[in-house]
Structures are given as C-alpha cells and as structure tokens.
Amino acid sequence: MSSKKVKVTDMSNNKGQLTELNPADFLPLPPPYDKLELEPKMKPLTPDQKQRYECDLDGIAAVMIPRPKSDEEKKILVDKFLSGLTKLFNKEDNWTFIQALLLTMEYCAKCQTCSTACPIFEESGGKEIYRPSYRADIMRRLYKKYIKPGGKVFTKLTGDDIDVNWEMIARLAELTYRCTLCRRCAQTCPIGADNGLVTHELRKIFSQEMGIAVKQLHEVGSVQHIQKGSSTGMTPLAFKDNVEFMEDEVKERTGMDFKWPIDKVGADVLLLHNAGEFLAWPENPEAFAIILEAAGISYTLSSDLLGYDGVNYGLWYDDVQLARVALKHIETAKKLGVRKIVLGECGHSHKALTVIADRILTGDYNIPRESSLTLLADIVKSGRLKLDKSRNEDIYVTLHDPCNVVRLMGIVKPQREILRAIAPKFREMTPHGVENYCCGGGSGFAIMPNTNFPDWRHSVAGRKKLRQVLDVFQDVIGPEHKKYVCAPCSNCKGQIRELFSAYGVFERCNILYGGLVELIVNAMTDIEKPFLEWDWH
C-alpha cells in the first residue's frame, strides 16, 4: 500500500504495517548532509520484537505494547479503550480539558491547513499517517460514533463511521507518540481546533484508563519521581553529593569557592532545575550558581523529595500524575517559605508548573512561579554581572526556542536581550520565536529510548530542527568556525545531543549545543578561563 494514500479507515485493517519508512522519501537536508549516504540508518525491529510488540503503524515500537495473546484479550482492551473514551467526555473525569477537547471535536472543517505547519508530516515526505488531522480525524469519528447521541446510525449516514478493533487501537496508541505536542498545527487553524490537544487527550485514555504508557514517562518517569524524588532515580542524598561535586568543579574551573544554598528557609527564590542537568550537563546548574552568587540573589535549592527535580512528565500523558508532581513542587516551596519558584532551563517544567498547573493551585498553594530567563535578563540588564561580549566573539550563536517556553508561554524577548548583550555573532533561525519548530524531542520523545524509536526521532522528528541549524550556519558551515546552538531547555538539549551525535554534526560542522547560562558565564570577566569547554563536549 502506498503510504501516501493511506486513509483513516485503513487504521482498522489487519494487513500488517500500514506505512513503510524509507529515508529516501524524507526531505533532503542542506549541505553537508545533502547525500543520502550520510543519513543515519533506521534499524528495523528484530523478528522477536515484531512478534512481541505492536508495531503495525510504521514499524516503530515506541510504546512497546505487548501483543495480546487471544481474541478475548483484544476484546477486553477494546472495551477498556471505549470506556476511557467515554470518560474523556465526562466533566467529572475530565473537567481539566473537556471544553477545549469538545470544541476541537465539533468544529474541524478538515481543510488540512494544520498539515502545512507540522514538521513531522512535512519532513517525512508527507506520510499520510503523520498528518495532524489524520490522528484527529480518527478521534473525531470515535467521538461522533460513541459519544454523540445516535452516533452509530448517524455516522453511517454521514460517512464518518470507523471500525473499532484492537488493530486500530494499537496503531492509534503508537500514533499518539508521533506528535511532539508542539501545537504549531493549532496555531495555523482558522477555526482554532487543536490537534495537539487530541494527541494529549488520547494519551490520557491509554494511561488513565488502560494503564498503557511509555515506561520512561510513567514507571521510571513520574512514578519514580514521586517515589524516589527524581525521574532520574536520584535520591536526596545523591543530590547533595552531586552538589558537592559541582561545587568542587566550579572551584576548579573558575577559582570561585562558595557553598551552594540548600534548604535555606526564608530565601527569596526556590530554584528548580531539571535533575537531568546535574547528571548530563552539570555545567548548566554550575553556571546558574555562579551567576546567582555573583548577582547576590537570595535563593535556595531543595533536597526534599521532588524538590530538586522540576520535571513533570504527567504534562505529556496523565493529568493525575501532573497534579501529583505539581503539588509536591509547591509543597517544597511552602516548606521553605520562599517568595517565588524560579524554573531553570527546562521548557516543560516551565509550562507544567507556571501555566498548566496554575488552576489547580488554590489557596496557599498558589505560590508565584517565574521563568529563569526573565530573572536572568533582569540580572544581565541591571549590570550586576561584569560582562564582556567580546569573550564570545569567536562563536557564531543561534537560539533554539523551546516550544513550551515560547509558543506556549509567550516568553520571547528575555533570552534574546541576553544574547544580544553577550554574543556578538548571534543570528536567528528561520522561523523563530512563537513560530519556531520543535527540536523533535518534545512531549517525552527525548527520553524515550525504546527499540528503534530513537532512529525515527533523529531522522523524522528532529529533521526540521537539524535543517534549521544547518541553514542558519550555512555560510560558516565548515569546521573551522565555532558554532553554538543555544537551547535553554534540558529536554531540547537531550534531543539535540542525540540528533547531533546521529549525524556527526560536531565532528563535521563544529556545532556545539548548550544552555544560555553557560554563554553568560563565558562572557563574565571575573572568570579567567573560558567556561565553555569546546573540545570536551
């Protein structure tokens, strides 16, 4: 079957894999990646994996749903899905999003404008199953058939009918993990329908009703976060050890010898990092500590369970888990008596705690939350740091806009004001700001290593971002020029790290990635040696 002509109703067939993925179909990349041989290989699933896991959508098993062993088991799963669907449209079970969801279900005109905005659909070479409206049309047909009165009769008359079987539901489960929830599609919709929301709500059926979620998001994600204190598995004791290590490293790299404030009651600010930073990019929290120390900000870190890990994976798949984690974050701040919580360079924790959880934080749980980008811009503009932009003069810098911070929160200017003050060779990608493209690791993708999903993430989901990076540096693409992608978001950095590694971007083009604070510290005149360690990346 030609994947370009796949129809919505084909989701229910039992003919095996619906769409074949071939890198030759993907949109060609700019130089030096304009040769197909430089395209990373996409590993097919092993026969054993194919037999064990549902993968009949596109040959990728991101969710790793075990194949049911009998028709009876399939029937139970189908019934559970339909039960979850009903709850999605019940105000008690889903007051959190029912209004927005219902509007999207009722009013789509199927104009396909959303498809023009989706980087995954576009970069895949127009694979029909990746259209934002493809997923939404399935959901809409289910809504019309099972939720609206007389739906089973009317959908036959109108042509909106869809066969519901396990094959369709299993493919749909995978399909909900082919969208990064960047909501670029919603931005272009003339009616205001939101296909990103459809993905979000479908993931909730699987998690909240069927107990099906990606292991890294749920079991070793939000569950581990609540139980151990961090989705990384880091315990409070390990966190303190990490801080000690980072204090030593700061001393070694900068000569600055100071203790990081931990559990300081009455501090003005609780700084909430993504704990992944401590393990993967300790230079980021180190740079934060240097800046806040130099600027004289009254702040503290927390060693309470969850108090040192600002992630909230519930945002991507489960409202209950979202609420649990958000409340724990607030309780940490309450205990310390801080005036506000400042979110470190982590996009989804920005959105989860500042915007999405805003309305569940009632009474004394309503402690103000703020972006570190705002605070940092204020520090830089106030002159509290001694900065010399010429220290970044040899680096061509571009800015990646994390969707959660920019399109979904409207924080656009502060990071640019900082970069203009510290990076003489700063240049913008096209498009940027609220029209930016996702890094390809959004909605949990960056932490999903299952089977061959990372191959798909590099080659399809991250392709647009790689294209943007190559395009913006095209005139200086050779390795003789130092280039830096400033990505003030842990999740985006995780994706860019894997993306650059898969394509050998550092080796071939000398493009480094990192956060914003590292560049700020690199421009601080109090620090003798460059903070950015170009050769140790």
């Binding site: 009013y107 029909e128 107990g211 929160m409 656009v412």
Partner: protein, 313 residues
C-alpha cells in the same frame, strides 16, 4: 399561510434555539486548565511578537496590561478575511474567502431586506424612484449585498466542492456529509442569484416576502424559483445547528476561551472558586495508579496508589 411558510418559521425557531443551546452548552462547561497558544493579541505591547506577561519580572505584582483594540483588530481580520487560511493555505483561501464573504454579505442582505420591509410598513418607499434618500440607499444596498453575496457564495461553494473532489488530501478526509453541506449551500446561493437576476431584479419580491414573514401574513403566490429558495433557506436553517458549520460559535470559544485565555489564577478569584468545586468531582478512571471513586483533590494528594500495586491486589 401555507405549509412552506410554517416550515420556514419552524426552521428559524430551530436555528435560533439550536445556536443558543450550543453556545450555552459550551459556555457552561468547566473552566479548563490553561492551554494558551501565543501570539495572544491582547497582550499589550507584546502581542505583535508573541510575548506575554511572563516576560515581566515578578509579573504577579504588576497590573495585567490588556489591549482589547488589538484583540478586536486581530479577530476582525480573522473573521472577515480568514487570514490564517490566507497565510497558511492560500489555495483553499481562494475558494473559502469568497464563500465566507458571500455568507457575510447575505447576512447583510437579510438585514437590508428586513430594514426595507419595516421602512415600507412605515410608509417609506424603497426603490430607485423613492423620494427618500434612505429608500434609495436601502434599495441599492439590498441589491448589492444580495447579488454580490450570492455570486461570491456560488463561486466559493463551487471552488470548495471542486477542491474536495480533485485535491487528494482533501478528498481523502471528506465524507458524504461534507459534500452535502457544500451542495446545500451552493443550492441556496445559486437559487438566490437566479431569482435576483431573473424574476426579482429590483428585490421588491424578496422585500415583500420579508415583510409578510415578519408580520405573519401569508406570503401568497411567488414566482419560481423563490419558493424553492425559501424552502432551501429554511432547510439550511433547520439543518445548520446540527452540523460543524456552526463553527462561527465554536470559533469564539476556541480563540477567546482556549488559545487566548491567559487569565492567571489569582487568590480569591472566580477561577479559584470554580476549580475548588471541580477538585471535589469524583474520578472513575480505571488505571492502576488512580484510586477509583476518589475526588480530584484526594487523587492529587494521595500518592499511595502511584504504582498501581495496591489496585492490582
């Protein structure tokens, strides 16, 4: 009064009640969690580049700066010109714009017909030879809006139907109901256009019809195709509330109550009061990590069933 006239009254009643029901139903739904999407035009001084109050240090200590003018300007461009389609899907805009603008003009046509009918009742003659300037103006405005609206609508509807037939990405997602909706509107536009260029070139018959309808007088004999036109318009009014074509109502909510709804939950606010009630709603989700029957407040604070082990036992 004939059956057609009763049918038309019924249709109008269903239309008005249906639209009201839909609007109330949506409006009375629980306030959802925030789902902002930027740019938000009412962010004063920031809307043009997509900025928000979150860019301000200690934003909660400052008054929110809102520009209603910017919001109305943006909404007007969206409603009148369908600017998102113009920017992101120019091919479809070429049909969609005349289609929708034709509809707007026909709303104007209805308005001028009713205005003309009322003026007639109060003794003002409507027509080129009227002694009243208002009578002349209403005559021309009626004809202009009717003819232009019907013509643009006809062209737009034909364009949309052809797009759905011949453009693969539209055809694959179109169902019988989509074609029926467009065909119905094409029939409404076309019959009006035909009647205005053949049997009612000065619009007087339509105006008399409007007068009879609002004064509950029998419409009497009407030349063809006006009875068909009245039937089709009635059928459209009757059918409209049951379709996605009521997106002009939905669009208000999707823009103002979802993507542009950025009110923070401040202490003591209406939002906080409403949410406090919702936190008492009981959950029936069946996954192992959620204790069925617990309220939202209990589920969010009691993390004991977080692994689901308890429920599995």
């Amino acid at each position: 009064m004939g059956a057609l006239q009763y049918f038309f009254y019924l249709s109008v009643a269903v239309l008005l009640l249906g639209l009201l029901y839909k609007a109330i139903k949506i409006a009375r739904m629980p306030i959802h969690l925030r789902w902002d999407l930027y740019p938000i035009p009412h962010e004063k001084g920031k809307g043009h580049y997509g900025g928000s109050y979150f860019e301000e240090l200690d934003w909660w200590t400052k008054p929110l700066k809102v520009s209603l003018v910017s919001e109305v300007k943006e909404m007007s461009k969206e409603i009148l010109l369908i600017q998102s389609l113009f920017h992101h899907n120019r091919f479809l805009w070429l049909s969609s714009f005349p289609f929708h603008f034709g509809l707007y003009l026909l709303v104007g046509f209805l308005f001028f017909l009713l205005l003309g009918a009322i003026l007639n009742l109060s003794g003002i003659v409507i027509g080129v030879s009227s002694e009243s300037a208002v009578g002349v103006a209403v005559h021309y405005l009626t004809l202009l809006s009717g003819l232009a609206g019907a013509a643009l609508g006809t062209l737009g509807a034909i364009g949309l139907i052809l797009s759905r037939v011949f453009k693969g990405e539209l055809r694959r997602f179109s169902v019988k109901a989509d074609f029926f909706n467009l065909a119905l509107l094409l029939a409404v536009f076309a019959t009006l256009l035909i009647s205005l260029v053949t049997v009612d070139r000065d619009g007087a018959i339509h105006r008399a019809l409007a007068g009879n309808l609002i004064t509950l007088k029998p419409t009497g004999e009407m030349p063809s195709p006006i009875p068909l036109e009245l039937f089709l318009a009635g059928f459209f009014f009757l059918y409209l509330p049951f379709t996605h074509m009521t997106h002009f109502i939905g669009k208000y909510f999707t823009y103002h109550k979802v993507r542009w709804e950025d009110h923070p939950n401040l202490k003591g606010s209406k939002i906080e009061k409403a949410v406090t009630e919702y936190l008492g709603y009981k959950l029936s989700w069946a996954a192992p990590h959620i204790k069925a029957g617990s309220t939202w407040a209990e589920a969010a604070t009691d993390t004991s069933p977080v692994t689901g082990e308890e429920k599995k036992k």
